[in-house]
């Protein structure tokens, strides 16, 4: 029995009808395609009356297939399929013929456009003839979210999901959560203390019943798919038992290795080998830095187990926990398996590498520091307890030069993009400096001042007008040392003069870069990233928190430079997406998946079991299935597609030697129907 196909040609106002004779398209289609039972044209098919027309005609004419000749299927395929569903027609009998984007808009000549449209409609009509009813695939959802990264983005997302009543697993690779925000002294534009607003959130996350936290841990692997991810978490050996340790501080107070550069203080402060990164760390339990601890060094040299080394056992001796000490030198990495329904990636950024700008003395002169190092200097919990002192000699700097756009907006050497936060944090730095060194002078070299945000412009004006920072529009060519001073050579392009400043300290507003391992990490997750290695959102405007992979969302600076309010907003948005996902027990997926020919009885399956399909499948969606006789003996082994894993690329179908795999919605019959409809001859 043939299908009764209806063809609806849209004028799209005049977008189509101006260059395509839509009436002729409808007429010719009706005349030359015996299977076409009904054709019409309409001004706006996607409008409510247009959709009603479609629904009414499906019912009145008893249509079993529909072709809408209109805009790209990317625009309204969904709309028209949904309209068809309301009449009881299976949505996969509805196809779109793209006569706008790929015809009327690109071919101004009416006869040419009309002829091409007739061809395109005929091809789609023939495909529709072969369309089969498909039902959406239902996959169960694991009601647990994974948040990767424990900075402000990760914490906010985890709290929002946990408050929404769902379980969250949070993974942070450092010893404490907190991320970069915990390092900041004060935040713009309100100058409230970063720690004061951050640490309560950290505590809340740590104590939340719905949040399981893994610090000093990394993602080992992620497999599976939307709703059903299998995640392996590597708990790196901390050398400290988190359950036993009370965080009493006895161990790190006695540690003899006191001159290790603190990562948290960006190298301007020191820490011990057994340490907590900062006093408000969560968990406030130490970790042993195995690279620098003399006991581990000794064990490596002698090739013995760490616990057998007798070089230094001060920390374990000092540990008051009894009878079993909380410190375990022999502790090994542990792999934890968790089942996850949805993932939020919040892995953050890193500061531009020190030393890239040798002409500014970065990495060469101690008193040339980065923005984050200045944050640590200004922070009350920092190595100087908030006093602004030069790293080289501890003197209070009388003149500080701030250089903006170090790395940012410099495609030749750094990155082409604007790091977005530096204009504001430099303004903040000048204020913090002036508040602490009242007679000090702050000079800022800038290209442009970009302070677009609520209260931002006012804040930077305040730095200039009220706090007296001197802003010079121009770039710095060189910073060099002369005695105790740093000579900054720059240009003031507004007066057209060369400026030379004898500074005591130079602060570089270094660019925000993607994490060093962002590329490998993106590959581990199968998500896309841009040229700067920031993770790509699904759509720059309409899907800003979705990654390119279903069920994986993005929050914070791993997606691109942004400030704290934006990060928090994005994290909240990602969390709401996850909550929506986890709110249902089952998810519906498009049934565009591959199927292996599976006749009854199954022994007649045409699959020959070569498993070439398995080799090409990017999703490991091809499984093997034994076809057994009654006595249980295996007759043959054939391929089977796991619908949950299959993403519908069709690689297996094109690879199959016995033509036993078909891609639903794009099966061979449908494609050949389209090709055969090419009436070239």
């Amino acid at each position: 029995m043939g299908k009764k196909i209806g063809v609806f040609v849209c004028h799209c106002g005049t977008n189509i009808s101006a260059t395509v004779d839509v009436e002729k398209v409808a007429e010719e289609t009706k005349k030359n395609n015996p299977g076409v039972a009904y054709t019409t044209t309409y001004k706006y098919m996607c409008s409510d009356p247009g959709q009603k027309l479609l629904r009414d005609k499906i019912k009145e004419e008893g249509l079993t297939g529909v072709v809408v000749a209109a805009c790209s299927p990317k625009m309204h395929e969904h709309t028209f399929r949904n309209a068809a569903v309301k009449t009881g027609l299976n949505p996969y009998h509805v196809e779109i013929s793209n006569i706008r984007e790929q015809c009327s808009w690109v071919h101004p000549d009416i006869p040419t456009g009309t002829d091409k449209s007739i061809d395109l409609v005929r091809m789609m009509t023939e495909k529709t003839r072969k369309d089969k009813s498909l039902t959406a695939i239902k996959v169960p959802v694991t009601k647990r979210a994974l948040v990767i990264g424990g900075g402000i983005a990760g914490i906010q997302a985890a709290l929002d999901i946990a408050d929404g009543g769902q379980e969250v697993v949070m993974v942070e690779r450092e010893a404490s959560i907190g991320g970069h925000m915990a390092q900041l002294s004060e935040t713009f534009p309100t100058l409230d203390c970063s720690q004061c607003i951050m640490t309560p959130k950290m505590v809340e996350a740590a104590q939340h019943d719905n949040i399981t936290m893994y610090t000093w841990s990394e993602i080992e692997s992620i497999t599976g798919y939307l709703g059903n991810f299998d995640v392996k978490i590597r708990k790196k050996a901390r050398s400290v038992d988190l359950d036993l340790c009370t965080g009493c501080s006895s161990c790190w107070q006695v540690c003899p290795c006191k001159k290790i550069k603190s990562e948290f203080d960006m190298g301007i402060g020191n820490r011990t080998a057994i340490y907590i990164p900062f006093p408000q760390a969560i968990p406030s339990k130490p970790v042993i830095d195995r690279e620098n601890c003399i006991l581990f060094k000794d064990a490596r040299k002698k090739n013995i187990k760490p616990n057998d080394s007798k070089v230094c056992r001060k920390c374990i001796d000092a540990c008051p926990i009894a009878p079993v000490k909380a410190i375990d030198y022999n502790q090994e990495d542990e792999i934890v398996d968790v089942k996850i329904g949805a993932i939020i990636v919040a892995t953050g950024f890193r500061e531009l590498e020190d030393g890239l700008y040798g002409e500014y003395g970065g990495g060469k002169y101690e008193d040339v520091i980065t923005g984050l190092q200045f944050e640590r200097l200004a922070s009350a919990s920092g190595p100087t307890e908030g006093k602004i002192k030069r790293p080289s000699d501890g003197k209070e700097p009388e003149i500080v030069v701030f250089i903006q756009c170090v790395g940012s907006r410099d495609p030749a050497k750094g990155c082409s993009y604007c790091s977005k936060t530096c204009c504001m944090y430099t303004a903040k730095h000048t204020m913090l400096y002036k508040h602490k060194v009242h007679d000090g002078h702050a000079f800022v070299f800038y290209i442009d001042i970009r302070c677009a945000g609520k209260g931002y412009e006012e804040f930077s004006q305040r730095a200039i007008e009220e706090e007296g920072a001197t802003y010079l529009r121009g770039r710095v060519s060189r910073v060099y040392k002369k005695g105790e001073k740093l000579i900054v050579l720059g240009a003031d392009t507004l007066t057209g003069s060369v400026v030379e400043i004898e500074a005591d300290m130079v602060v570089l507003a270094s660019a925000m870069k993607a994490q060093d391992d962002a590329e490998q990490f993106a590959q581990k997750l199968s998500i896309q990233y841009d040229k700067d290695k920031f993770f790509s959102e699904m759509h720059p405007k309409l899907k800003p928190v979705e990654s390119s992979s279903a069920g994986i969302f993005l929050a914070g600076t791993c997606q691109g430079p942004k400030d704290i309010p934006e990060t928090v907003a994005q994290a909240g948005a990602a969390a709401s997406k996850v909550l929506a996902l986890l709110s249902s027990d089952e998810l519906e997926r498009e049934p565009v998946v591959a199927r292996v020919d599976r006749q009854l009885p199954p022994v007649f399956s045409t699959c020959i079991g070569c498993f070439y399909c398995q080799k090409v499948c990017p999703y490991s969606a091809i499984e093997s299935e034994d076809i057994k006789a009654r006595d249980g003996s295996v007759i043959k082994t054939v391929a089977r597609v796991n619908e949950g894993l299959c993403q519908g690329c069709g690689l297996c179908a094109a690879t199959c030697r016995s033509k036993s795999v078909e891609l639903e919605g794009f099966n061979d019959e449908q494609i050949y129907a389209e090709i055969n409809a090419l009436e070239f001859n």
Partner: protein, 159 residues
Amino acid sequence: MAEETKFEPRIVAFLCNWCTYAGADLAGTGRNQYQANVRVIKLPCTGGIDPLFLIKAFERGADGILVSGCHPGDCHYNSGNYHARRRWNVFRPLLEFCGINPERIQFSWVSAAEGGKWVETINGVVDTVRALGPFEGYQKINAVGSDASGEAATSGDTG
């Protein structure tokens, strides 16, 4: 020979849904005009294109074929376009062996953001095939089948 000068090549383009099809849409959104000789067949991924589809298109009278998908590394399905390229590398010498000028089948990467590149690509294919002239290999074989004269059976593509 008036017909010869009027020859308009017939091109079939097999495009992946995510990159080149979207790129072709973008050319439309940007109103970038190009030659109307192409008929597009959309598939999820270039990796899912069976070489027999291309042969079938020639049989149906196509003079040239374009296969276009995502740039290396950008495949929506991670590696589909690599498989397509590999398959093409094997298929190309086979075409040559059969006497079909491999220039009649072109392979390209056009991303969803490259409307302009789509226009260049498709115009390039049309111009190349126009210069090659009509593809008559299949008609000749068909003619052999129908009247059994045998004279054109081995001539293959003249372009």
